[in-house]
Subunit: 243 residues, 2 copies
């Protein structure tokens, strides 16, 4: 019997309509749909995105990925998740893993796929690209992310203020993912560089409760949700006025 394929499906930033046709076709074709389990009883973002698209007979498989830094706990969680997926693959059933944003861009899917291939090298994995959150955020803002010869830097989290300083000295556009925990430090750096007025924060891009702050000058203490990102236009760029 042929083993099943694990599809990593990028389901986009939040709006269920921002999945691709290919992602939706594969999502609806497989018997098993996996996604990161929610926390504290709340469904996860990827789960919410795929819910409207699932058929009743499809089996849902929430996988636990703890929000911890401990390498050993994480590795253990990925192994458990990989074996849960393997259980179906080895029976010849395809599994789709629904992944918020794009599956290749700071995604949990990478660890799941890697662990699965370490434990079961024969397994077959296929990634379907999608809409990543920076693209969704700028579309909502009504500005381009990059134009012409602009250099783009993406920092997934801030471990040292010096790193942001280096990026601001060099790049034309800087994106800070998951900025919530370091927002006040970032605000001070931006103030020092006189960049508060060309910095934007987008919370939960494309979701019904999306919030946009399009000028940070008077906002040194924003309380932001986990999925917030900050975009800084370091050099003068086009500021359009989309809706």
């Amino acid at each position: 019997m042929q083993i099943g394929t694990l599809f990593g499906i990028s389901v986009g930033p939040g709006d269920p309509e921002l999945i691709t046709l290919k992602g939706l076709r594969l999502l609806q074709r497989v018997p098993i749909v996996a996604f990161p389990a929610g926390i504290q009883g709340k469904p996860g973002v990827a789960q919410c995105i795929v819910m409207p698209w699932l058929r009743e007979e499809q089996q849902q498989l929430p996988l636990m990925f703890p929000y911890v830094q401990d390498e050993e706990l994480l590795t253990q969680a990925w192994r458990v998740a990989a074996e849960e997926v393997w259980h179906y693959l080895q029976q010849g059933q395809d599994v789709a893993f629904a992944c918020e944003g794009d599956v290749s861009f700071y995604s949990t899917f990478t660890y799941l796929a890697q662990t699965l291939q370490e434990l079961h090298p024969e397994c077959v994995v296929q990634a379907v690209p999608g809409v990543c959150s920076p693209m969704a955020a700028v579309a909502a803002l009504g500005v381009p992310l990059t134009v012409r010869s602009q250099r783009l830097v993406v920092l997934p989290a801030l471990y040292a203020v010096a790193e942001l300083e280096t990026a601001l000295d060099w790049a034309d556009v800087v994106v800070l993912m998951k900025v919530s925990s370091v927002y006040e430090q970032v605000w001070e750096v931006l103030q020092k560089h006189q960049l508060l007025e060309t910095a934007f924060v987008v919370e939960r891009a494309t979701l019904p409760n999306q919030v946009i702050y399009s000028n940070l000058r008077d906002r040194p203490h924003l309380k932001l949700p986990y999925f917030s990102l900050l975009i800084v236009q370091v050099t003068q760029t086009l500021v359009l006025n989309f809706s």
Copy 2:
């Protein structure tokens, strides 16, 4: 009468199935579908992507954007294109502009929208995000673009080798868009930094004639098409084995 809306529709990297549901819905709803005109009689990439989705009664509007550096010629071309679009908008008709990749990421759409808003400040523009080419390229390669705390740099073109050196010294992952014209120089820099074996080139990601070079060691003189991108994993990352 209400004026029409200009929708900037990201149609993805090449595979027509990589348009989003939202992009397709809006694309099929409008009476006028614009796209960059092809060159030398060949249809453009965005045009090829949307063709299978258009209805016969939709009017197609190819817009000329010359491949030149001359600012005056470009500005003139954008003005002509903007007025062609405005002709329909002012009659209350919505226009969709189909844009390869993502509409906010080094896109012609930015100039069209900006020029239109300069000439006709009352016009309404809406951007629909999509799949950008780096995400499509790594999905095809079977590697993640970024994981964990990796710093990403995107360089749209190379104007100075020193810039690439700076990026390689600082970032974990570097993407060079439109690498064809500078490939040999880039190869030499990568050789000096001993990064040829973790550098990849993807030509025409997700199109039927996609080509992947997953190790550049023996390839100092690749002849690449315009839409080729190069990805360098500067620090050790996961190399998966997707199909």
